[in-house]
């Protein structure tokens, strides 16, 4: 009986596998639910290579793609490190993760990989903005119809860009239609759900792209398992001044106004007292959950929760900070400024106070595209955003960043810095961080400054 391989909801069903091969394929298991041998779809490459190695003939019903030429429309001269990255990736059998800072040309590298791999390709991106950005780039270089999955589009072509969320919906049925998978901002891939976009597809060739492979949960190993090992890496400081703009990071410690300080202190005291009374330790793994649970159970708890929110809000968005924003913006007349906040409320508060465009996930696609386009063209010189611009979106014209508030995440800050560092002639980027003096924000700031990108910075 001939061996057959078929694709079934992110897995492979294998029939008539000879007994002597089975011990060599550790991922193939007997499924008593359906009475067949089964393997996760991402093992397709290993299984096929093993069968070929043992000169066993098989019928492949799983693979629903054929080699496909993707000639590049206009000439690309890769930068030296892009050429090196391409070589390193191919040397690893066209699998692996490339780590390059934001603005170093990861998309161009991907275009070269698509051209040389010659297989239908699915590009995964975390946001709709990035999906449109990739669409434009692929359209420009290949000049063929490019499919989109996400943001209301459901069109599949040999070259398709999908958001991770949409790819997840499709992978169980279409995970056998692409030979090359590209994962942009691939540090997302080991996430509890996103990993199935890679696990459930048969693509034998894979490329992971990121500026920051580190994950706070330490699951980088899963990234390398799903995309292939790290094959090339350049750090932000290695490219500064050559490929990336030179930059400064300036931290401004902001003194709260007396009245606000008073409200802050009393709200914080109320919150701290509640923690003490209830014996809640926020440094414990489930401290936050216990706090939330307790605050629901009594009037005092509800007040403590309100107090917690109030002190957080004041420290992150005091009126004193708003004054500093105004001063900085005045100081940087004629510059292109991005203002980052921790959440949407704050972004809208600033937008309403100063009459500036605010870009959040609530901004609809049409207006979002319009805002970004106007910002790039200089029709708008200021853009306020919460987190939607953290990743990937190209705004090379921006040269000043103001972080009004943020989390302790190193990645978030390196990425925010990355928005400003796309090289342009004569550009010198500045990133301001506004920190409320003598508040918990100070420690949050300290945590995120561990990254090498922050080693040269000043505090005012």
């Amino acid at each position: 009986m001939e061996i057959t391989i078929a694709f079934d909801k992110s897995t492979l069903l294998i029939k008539n596998l000879p007994d002597q091969i089975l011990p060599l394929l550790s991922q193939v298991k007997w499924d008593c639910r359906t009475g067949e041998h089964r393997a996760p779809a991402y093992c397709y490459r290993d299984i096929v290579l093993m069968l070929r190695h043992h000169k066993l003939t098989y019928k492949d019903f799983a693979r629903q793609f054929q080699p496909h030429e993707f000639p590049i429309n206009c000439r690309i001269t890769p930068r030296a490190y892009q050429g090196d990255a391409l070589k390193a990736w191919k040397k690893q059998g066209s699998r692996g993760v490339v780590v390059l800072p934001t603005g170093a040309g990861k998309t161009i590298l991907a275009v070269l990989c698509i051209e040389q791999t010659k297989r239908p390709t699915l590009v995964h991106v975390p946001t709709i903005d990035l999906m449109h950005q990739w669409y434009d780039v692929l359209k420009k270089y290949f000049n063929i119809p490019v499919g989109l999955l996400g943001g209301g589009s459901h069109e599949i072509h040999p070259l398709t860009v999908a958001t991770y969320d949409s790819a997840l919906l499709y992978v169980a049925h279409k995970g056998n239609q692409f030979g090359l998978q590209i994962f942009d901002e691939c540090h997302h891939l080991p996430g509890a759900q996103y990993q199935y976009a890679a696990l459930g597809a048969i693509a034998p060739f894979r490329l992971g792209l990121t500026a920051t492979p580190e994950r706070s949960d330490g699951k980088e190993h899963l990234l390398y398992q799903l995309c292939g090992p790290l094959c090339f890496q350049r750090h932000i400081h290695e490219l500064k001044g050559t490929t990336l703009s030179p930059y400064n990071v300036v931290t401004i410690e902001v003194e709260m106004q007396a009245e606000e300080r008073e409200t802050y202190e009393s709200a914080r005291q109320c919150y701290i007292d509640f923690l003490h009374e209830e014996h809640i330790f926020m440094n414990q793994a489930n401290g936050w959950n216990i706090f939330l649970k307790k605050t629901c159970q009594s009037q005092k708890g509800r007040e403590a929760f309100k107090a917690y929110m109030l002190q957080k809000q004041i420290s992150q968005a005091s009126s004193a900070k708003e004054k500093h924003i105004w001063q900085l913006v005045r100081q940087h007349a004629k510059d292109r400024i991005l203002i980052f906040t921790q959440d949407n409320d704050m972004a809208y508060r600033i937008g309403k106070r100063f009459f500036w465009p605010v870009l959040t996930h609530n901004t609809k696609i049409k207006e979002r595209t319009h805002f970004l386009e106007n910002f790039r063209q200089g029709i708008y010189s200021i853009l306020v955003t919460s987190k939607v611009l953290n990743e990937g979106v190209d705004v090379p014209e921006a040269n000043v960043g103001i972080i009004v508030s943020g989390s302790g995440s190193i990645r978030e800050h390196v990425q925010r810095l990355g928005r400003l560092l796309r090289a342009q002639e004569g550009k010198h980027a500045v990133l301001y961080e506004l920190i409320s003096k003598n508040t918990s924000e100070y420690f949050v700031n300290k945590r995120r400054r561990k990254h090498s990108a922050y080693q040269e910075s000043n505090t005012i």
Partner: protein
């Protein structure tokens, strides 16, 4: 469904127990009714107005705010908001931002007051009016367009159901024991199972009083995964239709090294919000039955409520049962375009049997999948007991198979 922060549960030893509310508790019913009233009268109000009204009920209720916020969340899930943005507002924003950018580019940002004055002059409006208009399409300002009502008692049942579903999101697999099953209910359960793309391993109980069904997804074979948690959560209300059942689920919460056991049975008395879809018979099905009765009078066709045992500890719930005048009974299972995986499994199971108890009707669209085309091509069972149809089977497509059987 409820978010994790609204799920109430207790953990003791390795067990997790959802904290249900009493659905006949007068206090709870009254709170539910008050919240429902707020939502039922919300047409045209903004999200912010709606939330502040429901907040008032929540704060005055004297009930654990996790419960009241949970009820509010379930009602919000049934509320639709108008999210359109008027073209006029888009144009206004565009004009305003171009103007403020111009002021910035020309270094005309002096003090805030003169800046506000320039804007007010340009748009001939009070600055606070401009401020209010600027982001008036923000989600908090969106008006309610529709609310799907329900009774206070039903809301409390939905809440209890959502408590279990919220934990099922973190479920790796679940096992149900169904005792003395009603075949029609069991059949419906398996339809839901198939609909939510889950896989089951079914074993008959030792005393043959029912079945034990272990449910997870295709990839569960390889690693512990919560990938199918959402499918299992959506599947849960289907279990509630069974009369006598016991359930054990393995729940893996974050920050916990070992999975927790959730146990539940019919005494939880949660009412399912899923309909019995057995009651609905599509028109094409009725017309197939009518035609069949007309053109093949020697055979009687009825929707099936049978459960057939197949090789390898598996079971099948056929769509129809056909009986002819001499008492020969056969079952018919239909595989539509969306049933590719069940068909692959079924062909494999039937390879080992030669008993012609089950006829297979296969939609031609399934042949587009080369794996299925190959399996059908190589299936001797299908050659004898299978037939193809386009959208719905016709009498002419099934007739040759029945005639062969008759011989």
């Amino acid at each position: 469904m409820l978010t994790r922060n609204l799920i109430r549960y207790k953990i003791y030893r390795q067990h997790i127990k959802p904290q249900f509310i009493k659905t006949d508790d007068q206090n709870m019913l009254s709170i539910a009714a008050q919240l429902l009233e707020v939502f039922q009268n919300s047409q045209g109000k903004t999200r912010s107005e709606l939330l502040s009204e429901s907040k008032l009920v929540i704060e005055q209720s004297n009930c654990n705010s996790m419960i009241t916020s949970g009820l509010e969340k379930l009602l919000l899930d049934r509320t639709k908001f108008n999210t359109d943005t008027q073209e006029e507002l888009l144009n206004f924003r565009q004009e305003l931002f171009s103007f403020t950018s111009e002021l910035h580019n020309h270094g005309n940002f002096q003090n805030l007051d003169t800046y506000y004055q320039s804007i007010a002059n340009k748009f001939q409006k009070n600055i606070s009016d401009i401020q209010n208009q600027l982001y008036s399409d923000h989600p908090l300002n969106q008006p309610v367009s529709q609310f799907k009502p329900l009774s206070p008692e039903r809301l409390l049942h939905r809440y209890n159901c959502a408590q279990v579903q919220g934990l099922f999101i973190h479920c790796e697999h679940l096992t149900i024991k169904i005792v003395n099953p009603d075949p029609a209910h069991l059949r419906q359960l398996f339809k839901y199972l198939r609909f939510y793309q889950l896989l089951a391993q079914i074993t008959e109980l030792n005393d043959t009083s029912g079945f034990q069904i272990r449910i997870d997804g295709p990839l569960s074979l390889f690693f512990q995964t919560q990938k199918y948690g959402i499918n299992l959560a959506l599947f849960f209300p289907a279990i509630l239709h069974q009369k006598e059942w016991q359930l054990t689920a393995s729940i893996q919460l974050k920050n916990r090294t070992v999975p927790l056991q959730l146990e539940l049975n019919q005494t939880c008395k949660i009412l399912s919000h899923y309909n019995h879809f057995m009651a609905y018979i599509p028109e094409e099905v009725t017309s197939f039955q009518k035609n069949f009765a007309k053109k093949m009078p020697s055979w009687n066709i009825q929707p099936s409520d049978r459960l057939i045992s197949l090789p390898g500890d598996t079971y099948c719930f056929p769509d129809y049962t056909l009986t002819n005048e001499i008492g020969l009974t056969v079952d018919l299972e239909l595989f539509h375009a969306w049933h590719s995986t069940p068909l692959i499994y079924r062909l494999k199971q039937l390879e080992q049997t030669k008993q012609p108890g089950l006829l297979l009707g296969v939609c031609k669209k399934l042949l587009k999948d080369p794996a299925i085309a190959n399996d059908i091509d190589h299936s001797t069972y299908f050659k004898h007991f299978g037939f193809f149809f386009r959208d719905m089977p016709t009498v002419s497509s099934i007739k040759p198979v029945l005639e062969t059987l008759g011989k």
